[in-house]
Symmetry: D2
């Protein structure tokens, strides 16, 4: 059956930092048993993949996941059934970056930031990662604080230099975000900005859509569709939000929106790995336990995908051509209203997995085991 075949092929990347402590500016509520090293993060990611069957890679964040020997880390991952995924740069947690990184007025700071980006490519060479994911916290808090246009020039320069350094099979994924931590201007605030830079940079540069990074009222599936048409969609950072935050489990705030996004992906036949879209989670589990929250998130994406695959495209297209608004909307809603959980349980059994990954995790004793074993050392933190 086509739907199941497509679901078997699906790949969702989990982020190393989601396994670690995180919080808001008000408080980080530390959890017991969180990993203390990149190796332990990989242990946890491997558990998620073992139970879901569709999360075979884990994204790293540099310097949070810095190790002496990335080859060893990659082989450690391989031994546990997973692989290292995208390398995420971090040019926002050093004191030098108070007023920006690659867009900073001071060339010395810009050089330092660029050196970090290039270092990330070095790491990619060692991990075998295809994707360099760039998110910049750069921006302004006050009108007049810096020159908007000059900062674009500086940004373009850094992106160009980084792109130049990429190997033949490597890509740069550029993320945008409306605001936070900058409160007035963000230097890459929207998909248009990311798209324009990526177009200038050429084929190796692609846009990342983080589902939590838009102004209220933004139609995300439109952006998905537009970037797919333009050949410029490189990846998703999945999460969800009700307001301006971007921390919640994907699909928890607006599951219908997630379905509409996956519908555009299915329409463009972009679900399959060969299409080159990286489907990643980027979330912070501030109050809920990390590993089951990540499992839940993977399942949410999977359920939305299954529904999208069930859309009767023939019926939809005919109603659209006929201008039958209610029938066209009805064709989409029929798929959305279907309960796909039985289908997914069946799929998992066929894949040799437990049909209920959440229950399987609970039964596994892993949660208790890590609390017991991960004593001493420093718990890794979001930003640690």
């Amino acid at each position: 059956m086509n739907v199941k075949a497509a679901l078997r092929e699906q790949r969702i990347e989990t982020p190393s930092w989601a396994y670690a402590n995180s919080g808001t500016r008000f408080k980080v509520f530390a959890q017991q048993g969180v990993p203390r090293t990149p190796y332990e993060k990989i242990d946890d990611a491997a558990v998620v993949h073992r139970l879901t069957g569709v999360a075979p890679t884990v994204a790293l964040h540099i310097p949070w996941d810095k190790v002496d020997d990335y080859g060893k880390l990659a082989s450690y991952a391989r031994d546990r059934g997973v692989a290292l995924g995208a390398i995420n740069s971090n040019v926002f947690q050093d004191d030098d970056y108070k007023l920006g990184s690659v867009t900073h007025p001071d060339p010395a700071v810009r050089r330092k930031a660029l050196a970090h980006l290039l270092e990330c490519v070095d790491i990619m060479d060692q991990t075998g990662s295809r994707d360099l994911k760039l998110w910049f916290a750069d921006g302004l808090n006050y009108p007049g604080q810096d020159d908007i246009r000059s900062r674009q020039d500086r940004l373009a320069e850094a992106l160009h230099a980084t792109c130049e350094r990429l190997g033949a099979d490597q890509r740069m994924l550029l993320e945008y975000k409306l605001f936070e931590p900058a409160f007035y201007v963000t230097d890459v605030p929207d998909w248009g900005t990311a798209y324009a830079h990526c177009t200038q940079l050429g084929d190796k540069a692609q846009v990342v859509i983080d589902t939590g990074h838009h102004a209220p009222g933004t139609n995300i599936e439109f952006i998905v569709s537009f970037l797919l048409r333009a050949g410029k969609l490189g990846a998703f950072d999945f999460n969800s939000r009700f307001y301006a935050d971007d921390d919640l489990m994907v699909g928890s705030a607006d599951p219908f929106q997630l379905f509409r996004i996956m519908h555009e992906i299915v329409l463009a036949d972009a679900l399959k790995p060969a299409a080159g879209i990286a489907f990643m989670l980027d979330q912070c589990h501030n109050i809920e336990p990390k590993i089951p929250a990540i499992i839940r998130s993977v399942l949410n994406v999977q359920e939305a995908t299954a529904k999208a695959l069930l859309v009767d495209r023939e019926e939809l297209s005919q109603a659209q051509q006929a201008g039958d608004v209610l029938a066209a909307n009805g064709a989409l809603m029929d798929a959305y209203n279907t309960d796909v959980r039985p289908l997914l349980r069946e799929l998992r059994e066929e894949m040799g997995l437990d049909p209920d990954p959440m229950a399987a995790y609970r039964r596994s004793g892993y949660a208790e085991q890590i609390v017991r074993e991960r004593v001493g050392g420093e718990a890794a933190g979001w930003g640690a």
Copy 2:
């Protein structure tokens, strides 16, 4: 003095439809004395220019301003001291356009819409207008209603055909709008979409920023700066809004934002007519009298411009380079906090104008005259 010289050069285009009746979906409150013909709209626009000295052109909207002889209309305008400006197309008020115009699933509707766009270029040839301004009400109200990507293909096709038809000195200005009248997808919802199409279309296609057409929290001056850097900013539609509407007098909701926008214009030396940016009003005066509201709007743009011209760029730039956040913000605010009304009164006197155009209009008796004279016939309405 440079500031005054720059202000003398400023050109603000007023829209013919702002002189006519308009309203919300709930009610159009008709006003007495509103024009009944394109000729009377030009009479009113001429009054605005006579009093302000900086509004020498008036934009037309087709078919609202359809006349048999555009040469005659142009010469009528010329006799009154103004010229015809941009031609605005209208592909949203015919029953055929219920589900779209250039993006409609039915090719017959698309052909009809394209024919209208080309007719507008014919009219431009007659009026001598440089700019064709395109705003599409096209979009979807319900998920699934039509295929987002196919609609982009259809849009691109119509834009291409229209662009091809343009003469050597003519331009296409593409406007975007987050939503309304479409409530779920708008086919040109944001600057990124307009920019991407204009980039494909080449040098004759430029983006229009309507200040009322953004999602909450959007930083408009960033878009201004970005498009100026990319050479893709063609025009402004000025107005203001507190929520999602775009009807209020420019500068009435957030005068500081208008100042920040004009600051980017001044920084890029894009105020002067040679820079090719068209500064237009696009407003609806639903409850206030039309002509003085338009005068007020022109003055608001002028005041914001004067403040932007007063920014001490040397001081600003030094503070920015030094990373002195408060000093840089302070340099901008010093100009904003200046009362420029005395300067503008002086300028008007130097230009042979009344220093207070609002008072001069009140004294002129024109308001009473049009109420007296414009009796009978059909008052022109926004959308009439």
Copy 3:
């Protein structure tokens, strides 16, 4: 079975104006076969009830539904199996109301507006309606335009006078709306304002929640829960929106939100008619055919309700008490993810209805019949 028993009891009121033509400020796309009289609107509402079994009343809008003999209208409705519901006042479509109605600075306009409200109560006496629904378009477009506080005084005075006039079994339902048609201040902009006035007015005054009338990011189910706790929730106006409009079919933009709202209703045992909450639709079907859109909307409310009734409250409550975030969220999502369409088909068959009301309407030939028969006369319009 409890779920079915609760669903059998459910009552959804449809609005007379949703059967008539409506549109945006840009264009009303007239449809064929729309009703020309209040009697024909009742015919259409009767069809919706006949097919769905849960829409036994129809709300009137005065003056749009003015007739000489309301007793006759009520009896006409009764003969067709429906009853007249809430009376909706209209103090926004007369030229006098340009600057407000009950809040207008001119006492003569206020008296006129109040007279209309009292007339609506007269009509209620004749129709036997329990509820007077008040929505005021009153507000300001510009800062300074009028005194915010004085307008509250005037509003309070009119509400008080109207409340005094109500009979023993009559209620006043006060609606709030963030903005539109007023663009700067709305005199009843949020639930807090409506609640404060209703608290002053006493037991007969209750708040209406229109699901489309909130600022972005507002948590509507919180308001539902809060007003239920305070005993001040009187009614819903159901519809949905993606942006700032409030026109779309309820449940079409965010079905999960609708479910969460109905969950609060079920938790408070407020679904049953005895609880006194009026569940009304308030929508505009601008591009889709009216009657099937209303049927679809009724079904959407019914589906959300069925899911809310399926929540395992014991499981939910235990997880909440235990602070198990994922389990508590999971208990809610389990119900939401259930496909309730089979259950509802079963229920309809037990009620002697066609299991698929949309298909039954298509087969009925009613759509073709009204197009054939409703020729000549003036089609009723939203605001006609």
Copy 4:
């Protein structure tokens, strides 16, 4: 002169935490010379008052400003020309509060939180503070996580117990906030919720408006006016924001809004201390130096107030009564467009102050002095 007399009377309270380090969830950029103790915070607050003349009190935050002897702290402040102001409780930074404080499902956590609130009243008895300011981070991240209504019951219980404990001259100020740190439900999300609780609690409970805590599009001056009319406005927390944050210097994002707020205050004659409205700052200076940023903020409030005092109320009122929209708006704008800096310089000279507090601070050498002297110890942090 009345304007100057009113300005002399103005009192703005600065918050102890604004002098300390703060940041976003991404990074706290530590500054040199920030205070290490409550005593040093008072030193800084005294400098702000010495230079501006209108900031005579400093708000404390417990436990951040916990000391052994509050009498000694109060006398230390008095010696430096300032007094201790409102006591701010903190029930969000203890591990127990992960799922709430006074609304937590576990009664033991609720008891602990209540004990802290009562402890704050004990401290007020010692400091002589009139106001207890309550802000709760309580809320939910996920639908279903806890029962919305039960949490209101628990909240009401804690507020009641705290109110009971207050002395005859003490007040409770209840703050609301749309979201953050909770991402789905906030237990006191809007003014309506705070108002409803305060109304139940009686005269000692008043609402706090934090200018940064609203949904996009919220009209804050409407809320100011409404609460003043209801006698329920207790205080302001001033700051500003472009998006969803609330960290920026008051008046820096939308100075026109600040003016409109102060206009409502002036209209209600609520500026004078006897009116009982506490005007406080609540800001985080993440990237700009703290003390001059606070001075700048005080000046911004002062400038907005001066403009509000300059409104020609007679002219305004006449235009409003006459329904002259443009003249009424014009009367307000005339005051806003006035440059009040000369007036304020004059006022300061009359008060024996330096006419330019920002320059006076720079010249004072205090910034360099604290960097030199505050070495060693632990810099106080926002949340430290």
